[in-house]
């Protein structure tokens, strides 16, 4: 009797612990709309013909509606922010266990080869929302033992984000009916990324009011780029994903999603990247479509919401090119050089530095060629010219002199206005 009582006590304690875990989880575990909705949407699908898997460029750059229009097949976008090939491989395994897929499009991106496969936040799409045993295989195979708890427990995963506002927001979001109904728009959780349909997400244009890209140098968008330190484990997962598809007679296509010229100029040695992916393509006898080098299909800066992600219009354009290539691999020609234009402004980079309680801002205007341009720094409201220069070079100014938004206006040497970029 006593041992029965003790067993019952232990059981009640464990149930209490579980309930407490769920209650704390309500406040602590993120309500990220897009990845949650994506996986919910995925598990509702039963006839995915084309799956596209990769990082955020896929997430924002592939529109399943456009595929329907062109090819009359059902497609699904599995893209997620900073997704590693390890993540892609396990998503693919889950997908192939559930669906008869005809074509798998794997994203190969300039910045993907030297990442660590066990980047935690990049792969929370799986640990948070994937169902079934593959999730656990993924956690135990890819991650170090010391990270298992973090990957297995939502509370541990989000512990560094905990703050009063964070908890308030999560509780509020989870109290909305839309959350439990998996509605794309939750009244509380307003992300800059909006879930559309079948995995596709759309983001707003970042540089609103600018005619070219303006980026702060410590933005970090270029930090991880470089093929010199290719991660063998990471590449191993890419090869495994290709092999898995081939074993099941599934068509595999490698696609590089388009990036802005500004990004390509800063990203590094593109020829090296082309050479590397060509080798993968030849070794595995699979096609590679590099959308940065498609002849006559330039993606204008207006089709990008930021440095390396497309807008919805850009995504439609990009998807239609992919559909063309899937239907007819010779429908587009590819050029050697990724840069699209040969004249005009590429963009402006700037950085800020604290000097004696003031902030100094330095900027650099970049152009395609060495032609001379005139540009000036103005304060927006009264159009007061603060800086006027006849050459494109790095310049700086003490910020405390600025009171309003600052723009850079660019003119050619005959004083024709070329455009403006919002600096701050």
């Amino acid at each position: 009797m006593k041992s029965f009582k003790n067993s019952l006590k232990i059981l009640v304690f464990c149930i209490g612990l579980f309930v407490s875990y769920k209650l704390v989880g309500l406040a602590v575990i993120d309500t990220d709309s897009s990845t949650r909705l994506k996986f919910h949407d995925y598990y509702q699908q039963n006839n995915i013909d084309i799956a596209v898997i990769g990082a955020s460029r896929v997430n924002r750059g592939f529109d399943p509606d456009e595929v329907d229009r062109h090819m009359e097949v059902n497609s699904f976008n599995f893209g997620s922010s900073s997704q590693t090939y390890a993540g892609s491989y396990y998503i693919l395994r889950d997908l192939l266990n559930r669906q008869d897929v005809e074509t798998v499009i794997l994203d190969v991106e300039f910045s993907g080869f030297n990442r660590e496969p066990d980047q935690q936040k990049a792969n929370w799409i799986i640990s948070d929302y994937m169902k079934g045993l593959i999730k656990y295989q993924y956690i135990f195979n890819v991650f170090d033992r010391s990270d298992w708890l973090i990957m297995l427990s939502g509370i541990c995963r989000y512990k560094d984000d905990i703050s009063i506002n964070w908890c308030k927001r999560n509780i509020k979001a989870k109290l909305c009916k839309e959350y439990w109904d998996y509605m794309p728009t939750n009244r509380v959780y307003k992300n800059y990324s909006t879930y559309r349909d079948r995995g596709m997400c759309e983001i707003e244009k970042v540089n609103k009011g600018s005619d070219f890209f303006v980026y702060k140098k410590d933005y970090g968008g270029f930090d991880h780029i470089g093929l010199d330190e290719e991660n063998a484990d990471m590449m191993g997962y890419l090869y495994k994903a290709i092999r898995l598809c081939k074993e099941r007679d599934i068509k595999v296509v490698l696609v590089t999603f388009p990036e802005t010229d500004f990004y390509l100029k800063h990203a590094g040695d593109y020829a090296k990247f082309v050479d590397r992916v060509n080798r993968i393509s030849v070794e595995n006898e699979i096609p590679w479509y590099d959308l940065n080098r498609v002849k006559d299909e330039c993606f204008s800066d207006n089709e990008f919401s930021n440095l390396d992600h497309l807008t919805r219009d850009g995504a439609r354009h990009c998807t239609s090119v992919i559909c063309d290539l899937l239907l007819n691999p010779h429908s587009h020609e590819f050029v050697d050089e990724p840069l699209k234009k040969d004249s005009g402004i590429i963009g402006v980079t700037y950085e800020t530095e604290e000097i004696d309680n003031a902030v100094q801002i330095s900027w650099n205007v970049e152009a395609y060629n060495t032609m001379k341009y005139r540009y000036r720094l103005i304060e927006y409201d009264d159009k007061q010219v603060i800086f006027d220069s006849g050459i494109l070079d790095t310049n700086s100014i003490i910020m405390s002199e600025l009171t309003n938004d600052a723009y850079i206006e660019i003119f050619d040497m005959t004083n024709n206005y070329l455009g403006k970029g919002k600096l701050l």
């Binding site: 003790n6 006590k9 009640v12 304690f13 209490g16 612990l17 407490s20 875990y21 704390v24 602590v28 935690q120 170090d144 033992r145 010391s146 990270d147 298992w148 708890l149 973090i150 427990s153 509370i155 541990c156 512990k159 905990i162 703050s163």
Partner: protein, 491 residues
């Protein structure tokens, strides 16, 4: 040893499942196997010191015990053998500290335990102090909750607990888990944040304000305590789940009213070891007796105090050497030695002054004053240890007591601490408040675990849940953190 690894936690839980169904002999054998597995798993170089020290000590005690204690030959042989083994063990200990290819895990702990055992074996003609079974002797040395950072448990107390089969006791078992949870809370929630604060301050010592320096020093001081005592809480807890008691090593040291008392409450088993095996033997030795005799000519008090002073000096030489070889460790040891010796020598004068000023020694304000004074002296000792040079020490001290105490500086910011928001500061302050309340209650003799046992289950469980979720939500673990690191691991 990584006490948060699956290897450790898995072995512990698996060990528990097996332990309580075995008979007395197999119970300790199962713990020996667990201890051995964990030791082998967690050392990354050959445990040469452990092997040699255990063989030498065991062999020596067998030889000593084989002699007839009444003969002169015994006295001669046994002391020679004892001293050779002690010197050889200490030599191995020193060598292991300066080479990488010999495992350092717990060397000084089991070596000193073995030396203590050997001395007791030779000193007392009692079977309670002597182990015939080599495996049990090895088990005593490497019992896993004590092997890497102590405490220096004594053989006799340890052996007594295995004289008969240990039966499962729910209360003791639960207290073990509670203690482990409390230690984990201290180790994962409080210790890393204090460490981050202290490290940042001492890495940016130049140009920093005196206030920031003092906060850093305070953080480091509490950090040392938290790190070490959290380990002790965890290991006492683990051992309790097996029904094996190991001695406490800390008793609220920051409530001490003097430095001597501080060291009776801090790393208690080490202090007792030094007292029993250095101080007392020295005072009772020929040299000690000669000092006492010669000191008699300066009065009765001197004959009592001077041998004590000499013994204290020896103990502090040993303590500083145990903590590390180097100038800062030596100065640190001599600093404590000087304070303890001075308070010994000036004890009578202090009493007279207190009488003249009509200070009630038991009054609250005087007690608080003495506690604060002790804390300041301990912080000063840590400053000696943390300073790379005398100039650094002078500079830091000058900042703390000089006009630079409140200067504006941007060297210590939440951002530089890696504490994105105030969250970490709040967590630290709240945790320290909880810790302080628990310490005050313990100091007043309030048995928190016993009181908790008497509470109704829902309340008791609520306390567990709060601690568990505080650890999960605010603990420092996962990538970028190494909770397996304890300050005293490789001593």
């Amino acid at each position: 040893m990584d006490y948060f690894s699956l290897t450790f936690l898995g072995t512990w839980l698996l060990g528990l499942l097996v332990f309580y169904i075995l008979n007395a002999r197999w119970q300790w054998l199962s713990l020996l196997i667990i201890s051995f597995i964990l030791y082998v798993v967690f050392v990354n170089s050959p445990p040469i010191v452990l092997i040699l020290v255990s063989i030498m000590t065991y062999g020596a005690t067998r030889v000593i015990r084989a002699q007839n204690r009444e003969t002169l030959r015994f006295a001669c042989y046994s002391r020679v053998i004892r001293n050779i083994v002690i010197i050889a063990s200490l030599f191995l200990l020193i060598v292991s500290r300066s080479t990488r290819w010999i495992s350092n895990l717990g060397n000084s702990y089991f070596t000193l335990k073995a030396i203590g055992y050997l001395i007791d074996c030779e000193r007392y003609d009692d079977e309670e102090y002597y182990e015939k079974d080599f495996l049990f002797f090895v088990f005593y040395l490497i019992y896993f909750p004590t092997v890497s950072q102590g405490p220096f448990n004594r053989y006799r107390d340890f052996k007594r607990q295995f004289s008969e089969r240990i039966r499962f006791e729910y209360v003791g078992f639960m207290h073990g888990f509670q203690r482990f949870l409390w230690g984990t809370f201290k180790k994962l929630v409080i210790t890393p944040r204090l460490g981050e604060m202290g490290t940042l301050v001492f890495e940016n010592i130049s140009g920093i304000s005196g206030f920031a320096l003092m906060m850093g020093l305070l953080a480091k001081t509490i950090y040392y305590y938290m790190d070490f005592s959290s380990y002790m809480d965890m290991m006492i807890g683990v051992s309790s789940t097996f029904g094996v008691d190991i001695p406490e090593n800390f008793r609220q040291p920051f409530f001490s009213k003097s430095i001597a008392e501080f060291w009776r409450r801090w790393h208690m088993t080490m202090g007792e070891w030094f007292k029993d095996y250095i101080m007392i033997p020295f005072i009772q030795s020929k040299i000690g007796r000669t000092i006492k005799r010669k000191a008699k000519r300066y009065g009765k008090d001197a004959s009592r105090t001077i041998p004590l002073v000499a013994g204290t000096f020896l103990v502090w030489i040993a303590t500083s050497m145990w903590h590390g070889i180097g100038r800062s460790y030596f100065l640190w040891g001599m600093y404590y030695c000087a304070i303890i010796v001075l308070s010994l020598l000036l004890e009578n004068r202090y009493r007279r002054i207190r009488n003249i000023l009509h200070i009630n020694e038991e009054s609250l304000w005087y007690s608080v004053f003495r506690m604060l004074r002790t804390c300041i002296l301990v912080m000063l000792a840590n400053l000696i240890q943390l300073s790379n040079s005398f100039e650094d020490f002078r500079y830091a001290l000058g900042r703390i007591i000089g006009s630079d105490f409140f200067i504006r500086d941007a060297s210590i910011t939440l951002e530089k601490l890696g504490w994105g928001e105030m969250k970490d500061a709040y967590v630290l302050v709240l945790s320290l408040i909880v810790f302080f309340i628990v310490s005050v209650l313990k100091e007043r003799g309030y048995n928190i675990l016993a009181k908790l046992d008497k509470c109704r289950a829902p309340f008791r469980w609520l306390v567990y849940y709060v601690i568990i979720f505080t650890i999960l939500c605010f603990g420092r673990y996962g990538s970028g953190y190494d909770p397996s690191k304890f300050l005293y691991t490789n001593f």
